[in-house]
Amino acid sequence: MSAGYIDEMHEAFHSDLIYRAEDIPLECSPKPKELEHTLHGVMKLNGLVIRSLEEIAGRGANAVTYRAGKKFGHEVAQYFQKREDVEGALHELSDLLRGQYSFEVWKPEDKETFIIEENGETFIYLVFHDCIVRQTLRRNGLDQGGPLCQTLFGYVVGAVEEITGRKAKLEIVHTGPNACLKKLILK
C-alpha cells in the first residue's frame, strides 16, 4: 500500500469538527437522499443473511425469525397503553410501525364487519401496503412469505398480544408486489 494512498485515506476521515460530550446528534446525517446507497446496502445484507439462514437451518429458519420478531413485538409494545379492543390495538400498532410498514384492516364486500367469524375462527384481515421486508426481498430476488416475512409476523403477533393480553396468530393469505393480505386470528 503506497504512502500516498494512506495519506489520502487519512485525509478523507479528517475534519476540524469539535465534538463535545453533550453534542447529541439530533438528526440523521447525511440527508435521506444521500442514504439511498446505504439503504441498498442494508437490504442486500439482510437478503444475504436470510438466504444463508435458509440454507443452513432449512424450514427451521422460519421458527427462528418468527420467535425473534415476536420477542421484539412484545418488548416494544410493553410501553404502550393496554387495551382490550383489538381494533384499538391495531391502531396503536400502525402508529408504532409507521415509516417501515403501513397496513389497514380490510374486508371482502360480502362481509359486514371487520371482525369476521368463520369456521369456528375469529379473525381480521390486514392488508400491508408499505413494507420494508417486501422491498428487501424483491431487491434481492427472494420469494415473499419466507423467514424475513416471519419476523414481521412475529412482531405483529407479539405487539397485539402485549397490547390486548389475548393470544393471536398471523397467517399469510396472499403476497403481491404492491400489497399483501394477512389474517390475524384471535384466540
Binding site: 439511498e36 446507497h37 439503504l39 441498498h40 437490504m43 380490510w106 371482502p108 364486500e109 384481515y125 392488508v127 401496503h129 408499505d130 413494507c131 420494508i132 417486501r134 422491498q135 428487501t136 424483491r138 431487491r139 393469505v173 396472499h174 403476497t175 403481491g176 408486489p177 404492491n178 400489497a179 399483501c180 393480505l181
Partner: protein, 80 residues
C-alpha cells in the same frame, strides 16, 4: 377501485383469474372481466402475471418502492 381490462390486448389466458386471491376476474368469451372490483385489495399480482399487460387499476395505493436499481434507472432516464 376501478379495474379496466384492455379487451384488445387480453389473450384470454386466464392467469389473472387463477392468481387473484379475491376472485375479482372471470373469463367471459375468452376475455377477462373484473366482476368483483370492490373485492380488490390492491396487491397487483395480476399486473405482474398478465403477459399482455392488459390490466389497469384506478384509485390504487402505490406502495413505496425502495428497491429500484438507481444505476439502471439513471440509464433508462437517458433513453426514455
Amino acid at each position: 377501485m376501478e379495474i379496466h381490462v384492455d379487451k384488445n390486448a387480453c389473450v384470454g389466458c386466464g392467469l389473472c383469474v387463477k392468481d387473484c386471491p379475491m376472485h375479482v376476474y372471470e373469463l367471459q368469451d375468452n376475455v377477462s372481466v373484473a366482476v368483483r372490483p370492490n373485492n380488490c385489495m390492491g396487491c397487483l399480482s395480476c399486473h405482474e402475471i398478465c403477459p399482455a399487460q392488459a390490466l389497469e387499476h384506478r384509485g390504487i395505493y402505490a406502495a413505496r418502492r425502495h428497491y429500484i436499481d438507481i444505476k439502471v434507472c439513471e440509464m433508462l432516464r437517458k433513453v426514455v
